[in-house]
């Protein structure tokens, strides 16, 4: 298994290098360096990759898309070794990935601090993390719209008076995890009536919440069913979750070849990318089965980022 994977990675790397070399030398507009954008293999990453690719293309960059590369174990080495130039990342998770023991910095619940720490960890790898978006992809607690409206619950702390009558649903390990039931107790002081073991932000949790078998469910903050099922994502107002805000990571070599336009363009996306906007795009791709190219183009136009 492991051996097969290694061979696959090697063959793959060779292919990527070969194509990258082929592209070199054919520059688009003057002083617009060629760009290779990579992504991991799930829909949100493809949409983010398209956002970055299309805004750059609209401004005269020649973009090569290397999407669906696999998980972070494949994509991070690819950007470090220059097989790709840009990818969309998640602050806390990437920091924990590149600095496994937390020797340089540890992820925190604050995105600004986490970004600073991440930059320190990326410096020796010649990578730069640009501005982060408000949008995250991390653990989130959701309730139905009916519950939210009836009890006027907007944030996790608003659950305080009701938790004793509510059932929490999430992955089986939730009761013992600091970012799940354990954290809700220590950080928010919430003691639920019961816990129902379901899945890690999957269809069981969605069905249980919809079928009123649970009152509060754990989903990922960018889960498309939040929009599709009209759930309400509660504000993590006491910052239980680590800051997994979305941010582009770029090779320093590319930034040095560029006149600063690239950085400005990517930052303009992060500035507009709120949780609601991201979740709406995820819903269009994952639930409505729209093409992520079209979804990304429509969003960039709506935000006035491309014409």
């Amino acid at each position: 298994m492991k051996r097969g994977r290694t061979i696959f990675a090697a063959v793959f790397a060779a292919l990527v290098v070969a194509t990258a070399c082929g592209g070199a030398g054919t520059q688009g507009t003057a002083n617009r360096p060629d760009v290779i954008i990579g992504s991991t293999n799930f829909y949100e990453q493809l949409t983010l990759g398209e956002l970055y690719a299309q805004i750059l293309e609209a401004n005269g960059y020649k973009v090569t898309r290397k999407f669906n590369l696999g998980n972070r174990e494949i994509v991070q080495p690819a950007i470090e070794s220059g097989q790709i130039d840009i990818d969309a990342e998640y602050l806390a998770t990437l920091l924990a990935f590149v600095d496994k023991n937390g020797a340089i910095a540890k992820p925190t619940t604050d995105p600004k601090t986490t970004q600073t720490g991440l930059q320190k960890a990326l410096d020796p790898k010649q990578l730069t993390v640009l501005d982060f978006a408000a949008a995250t992809d991390q653990n989130g607690f959701v309730i139905t719209k009916a519950t939210a409206d009836a009890k006027n619950i907007k944030a996790i702390s608003d659950l305080q008076p009701y938790a004793g009558n509510y059932v929490l649903g999430g992955p089986p390990e939730c009761p013992q995890r600091p970012f799940c039931q354990l954290g809700l107790k220590t950080v928010y002081g919430l003691e639920f009536k019961d816990f129902k073991p379901l899945d890690a932000g999957g269809p069981l949790t969605v069905a249980a919440l919809e079928g009123k078998q649970i009152d509060v469910g754990l989903l990922f903050t960018s889960d498309p069913s939040i929009v599709a099922k009209n759930f309400v994502l509660l504000d993590d107002n006491k910052h239980l979750q680590l800051a997994d805000n979305i941010a582009p990571v770029v090779r320093n070599a590319l930034l040095q070849k560029d006149d600063g336009t690239l950085k400005r363009l990517l930052n303009s996306i992060s500035a507009k990318l709120t949780q609601g906007e991201l979740n709406d795009m995820n819903k269009q791709v994952a639930v409505d089965k729209k093409d992520n190219k079209d979804v990304a183009a429509a969003w960039l136009k709506k935000q006035g980022l491309i014409k």
Partner: protein, 227 residues
């Protein structure tokens, strides 16, 4: 060696014996689920098998159709039943699992009951008919009592299969003893996982033993004589 100690420690913890997540609750849930699955399978298959066995026709087709139930993986049935149960508003856990377990219980019951009736000595049946027994009387007074040990045998096999397989329910958020196995795996809490597996195995053996005792107690007088 230490795993044994850990498992014993898990059983010794009084917290594991109380409340909605405790062992007694999970055993009751397991028995409810298994019992209902077998009961539904009996209602669906016994009348048909008795009829077919009595008239001696159609058995081949019925048994082969039922045997498809043995070939269908319960896990696939469970996955198939889940969206249907959600769409029907039956929720997660209990009902989808029941749907997956019933097809598992039908084949042994149907086959054994059919064979039990069919294999009753034809001379006895003919003698009864000659004495003026109506067909329903033959079935009630001759074929069912004489076939009872084999009929119960089918139900025993079905019950043991169902008790062992009902653990799957935990995958779709059901209760029952599978909870300990699925949660134990998710938490990498191996003592809990092993304890859950032990409880299921014990319950299956207990089911087997109780059926054997019941079969012995209900066997017709003429069939219990020691050779």
């Amino acid at each position: 060696m230490s795993l044994f100690g850990d498992v014993a420690g898990w059983f010794a913890d009084p917290a594991h014996w109380q409340g909605t997540h405790g062992i007694p609750t999970r055993i009751v849930e397991h028995l409810e689920l298994s019992g209902l699955a077998v009961a539904v399978a009996i209602v669906l298959s016994v009348p048909l098998a008795l009829y077919l066995g009595h008239v001696g026709r159609g058995g081949f087709v019925a048994i082969n159709v039922a045997n498809i139930g043995r070939a269908l993986p319960s896990l696939a049935l469970l996955a198939f039943a889940l969206p249907i149960a959600i769409a029907l508003g039956l929720g997660l856990g209990f009902w989808p699992t029941l749907f997956a377990l019933v097809p598992l219980a039908i084949p042994p019951i149907l086959t054994s009951t059919f064979v039990a009736v069919r294999e009753v000595d034809r001379d006895v049946v003919d003698a009864a008919r000659g004495m003026g027994f109506r067909e329903s009387q033959i079935l009630r007074s001759i074929e069912i009592p004489l076939g009872l040990p084999l009929i119960l045998d089918g139900m025993r096999t079905a019950s043991v299969n169902v008790v062992a397989t009902a653990t799957l329910g935990a995958i779709v958020a059901g209760g029952a003893l599978g909870r300990f196995i699925v949660d134990g795996l998710a938490l990498q809490d191996y003592p809990q996982l092993v304890a859950g597996a032990l409880l299921v195995a014990l319950l299956a053996v207990a089911t087997e033993v109780s059926f054997a005792a019941f079969a012995r107690a209900t066997a017709p007088a003429g069939m219990t004589a020691n050779p």
